[in-house]
Amino acid sequence: MAENQKQNYLTHPKGIMSWVLTLDHKRIGLMYLFGGIIFFFLGGLLALGMRLELAAPGNDFMSNDTYNNVYTLHGAIMIFLFIIPAIPGALGNILLPLMLGAKDVAFPRLNLASFYLYTLGALFTLYTIVSGGVDTGWTFYTPYSTTSTSNVIPMTMGIFIIGFSSILTGLNFIATIHKMRIPGLTWYKLPLFVWALYGTSLVQITATPVIAITMVLLILERLLGIGIFDPALGGDPVLYQHFFWFYSHPAVYIMILPAFGIISEIIPVHSRKKIWGYKFIAFSTLSIAFIGFLVWGHHMFTSGQSVFSQIVFSFITYFVGIPTGVKIFSWILTMYRGQVSFTPPMLYALSFLFLFTIGGLTGIFLGAVALDIHLHDTYFVVAHFHYVMQGGTIIAFLGGLHHWWPKSMGTMYNQTVANICCLGVFLGFNGTFFPQFLLGLRGMPRRYATYDPQYADLHNYSSFWSAILGLSIFIAIMNLLWSLRKNNKLDPGTNPWGAMTLEWTHTTSPPHPHNFEEEPVLEHGPYDYDKVIVEPTFKK
């Protein structure tokens, strides 16, 4: 028994092949995390390069063409190689079976195949970068993308392949959630992170095929000149926009729903309080996933689509806002009469509430057609989606990483450093992106390598703070990695936050290779802080 307890998935079995061919969801999750973090750094460096160029109005640091490559790769890498795969692929893989009390996901081999598809897609992306880049923007709007001489085909091929990774992961998660729960773990007893993954997976399997087909059509158009999207060949560029956003708007929810799930875990644990409005949060996840399919036209308010479409898309857009608002209020009220600890994960969760609320509210400005026409394709949009994607998803991801780090790695980082970094990220983020709302209101367009001197002050300010943002994220991640040094292992029984979901109460940190030594028996719900006391344990 004692010998058995010392075994954990990180050290058992040993050898490089045991990682390459592993079917263990936790190891696959870690490999996703590794890949995701590498691309996060790459995308982040590209972003800092852009801010350096934009610090002053002229072509001071790079040429127009270089800038166009840099911003395209920044967007494509952050979206397709980091944000979309990272949370479901990394945290989702590591946690889902543990939260369900299962030995693994439903299809472990398929899970490994998903990871290798992701790797293959990533190789295509790296090839695109080393062979000269791509300059179309991550949206690949036609006819520019059908006529551009840059490497459109390798990049879109990469996206096509990563799409399959996304679909297979979604399929796997849905089967796992339906079939692998331990007895007694009914739908309403599931941790909300599982509900969030369920909603995400539904969107992944229904929306992703559309982007895959669109990318194939684009490739065929470039190779064979078949005339779907390029007017010179008889195609229609607006059709491309419909196809593209029919995926890419729901993809926003692939990116944000897992973040909602993470926040729904962090806040009750660190407030030691039952979550407010469990069913509201669970069902708002599903309704957001559904409504998210009906609003793609708000990306096309200046494309010349019919007035009727404009009105309908504007109308439905607001209905995404309502369930999202319900979630935010529920998270806040969760703290009511709890015991709130200001740990690093909790600080990230509170930053999330602050930043994501700004991201959500500025979406209302953009949903109003008349106002959107002024703001469309300006820095207001850039600021809005960074508040949602970075202020929302990436902040939640960092929070989740800090929350589950002791669980998955069996070590504890320096919490003071982590808190300071969280503050640095918060300030750096606001300093970088808040001025961009003002730039947008004043009419500064997106995707400009140079700009009119009237916008110089705000750009300069934004660039300055981006350095602080970049540095804070870098130190935060280094702080996590530094905890992996020798002789820093925690006691396997550690539950530093006093959490009561299965991954904390029924297995070791880091978990046993088979997750649980025997099938766990459910003793309480995921947030029963009103019924059971789980003492935080923190031992070296």
């Binding site: 072509n59 127009n64 063409d65 166009n68 300059d135 179309t136 006819p143 006529t147 551009s148 010179a232 560029p237 407030s271 030691r272 309080k273 039952k274 407010w276 409005g277 469990y278 509201f280 200046t302 494309s303 010349g304 007035v307 404009q310 504007s314 109308f315 607001y318 806002g321 309502i322 608002g325 935010i328 209020f329 806040i332 009220l333 703290m335 009511y336 015991q339 709130v340 600890s341 200001f342 509430l353 602050f354 209302i364 400005f365 949903g367 109003a368 008349a370 106002l371 026409i373 469309h376 209101l441 367009p445 997106r446 400009y448 140079t450 009119d452 802080y529 009103d530 059971v532 006391i533």
Partner: protein, 323 residues
């Protein structure tokens, strides 16, 4: 409010600009109210119920819902977004229903400049001249990839498509010179694809229209060339200071006058008047080594005198630089 508007927005020049800014303020103040509730609520609860040193870990409250609060979460945002939606659509209808007495100007986007065709004949490049207090209907299209025509002071923009026409309109209430930007990414010269809209008093506009096409007869060639350099958007891609942009600098070409220029297919030619003329009219036939062949043809956009003028201007740069 006025000083805030001045800080946040460009001038309000079109008839509907103030209405759109007011819609902004409605959403802005509602958002600030909601945001204040979120942030103060969060800070209050987090601090009031914080876990202090020495506190005992205990069972906490099982309160997890309140029918009144939850109904409020639905109803208050629903009311606010309903107002926003209706306001947004009403203002939008004002922006798309073109008055019957509008003057129609055709706007064509092309990588990377704008062409404006006026109703009584005459064309300008990168300078849209319109009378004040007169509805202007803009019919948009593109000759190549997507562009988008954005006039911040008018609070309106619209995409330019290669395969169909889009329409927008405005009625400028104040004379002045204002920015036009391209807001749909269109490649290398996207950030330089700016133009100006010049709003004149109607009488001035009439005089300007009458002169359009007949001016420039009596100024010296090199001065006309200097005017055309910006007016015909050469400056988007060619600098005068020797630095390379999308295309080679005029100064460099001028300094190499009479010398050999090498093209990307390995051939070369002597830089002379005929070379410059054919480079303007048939830019795709010979591409200078190290550059992309992205320049559109100016066939039909420049008459012979204007071509002569540009050549004269280019030649004059060499002498200027020697002084």
């Amino acid at each position: 409010m006025d000083r805030l508007t001045e800080y946040l927005f460009p001038k309000q020049v079109s008839t509907f600009a103030a209405d759109i800014d007011n819609l902004f303020y409605f959403i802005f103040y509602s958002s600030i109210a909601l945001f204040a509730i979120v942030v103060f609520g969060m800070a209050y609860l987090a601090i009031k119920y914080r876990f202090k040193k020495g506190d005992e870990i205990r069972l906490t409250s099982s309160k997890d819902h309140s029918n009144i609060l939850e109904s409020l979460f639905f109803i208050v945002p629903l009311i606010l977004v309903s107002i926003t939606f209706v306001w947004g659509i009403r203002s939008y209808l004002k922006m798309i229903i073109v008055p019957d007495d509008a003057i129609e100007i055709k706007v064509t986007g092309q990588s990377w400049f704008w062409t404006f065709d006026y109703p009584d004949g005459g064309t300008t490049l990168n300078e849209l001249v319109v009378p004040s207090n007169q509805p202007i209907k803009i019919v948009l299209s593109s000759k190549d990839v997507l562009h988008s025509f954005f006039i911040p002071v008018m609070r309106t923009k619209m995409d330019c498509l290669p395969n169909r026409y889009n329409v927008m309109w405005f009625d400028a209430q104040q004379e002045g010179v204002y920015d036009i930007f391209c807001t749909e990414y269109c490649g290398t010269g996207h950030s330089q694809m700016g133009a100006k809209v010049i709003v004149m008093k109607p009488a001035q506009y009439e005089a300007w229209v009458a002169e359009l096409g007949s001016d420039d007869e009596d100024i010296p060639l090199d001065e006309l060339g200097a005017k055309l350099y910006t007016k015909k958007a050469c400056n988007t891609c060619h600098t005068l200071d020797g630095s390379a942009l999308v295309g080679p600098s005029y100064l460099q070409t001028s300094q190499m006058w009479g010398e050999e220029r090498v093209f990307d297919d390995g051939t070369s030619t002597i830089i002379d008047d005929n070379y410059i003329r054919s480079s303007i009219l048939e830019p795709q036939t010979k591409i200078v080594a190290g550059y992309q062949g992205v320049m559109p043809t100016y066939q039909g956009l420049l008459n012979d005198r204007e071509l002569d003028a540009l050549i004269a201007f280019l030649k004059s740069l060499k002498e200027d630089s020697q002084i």
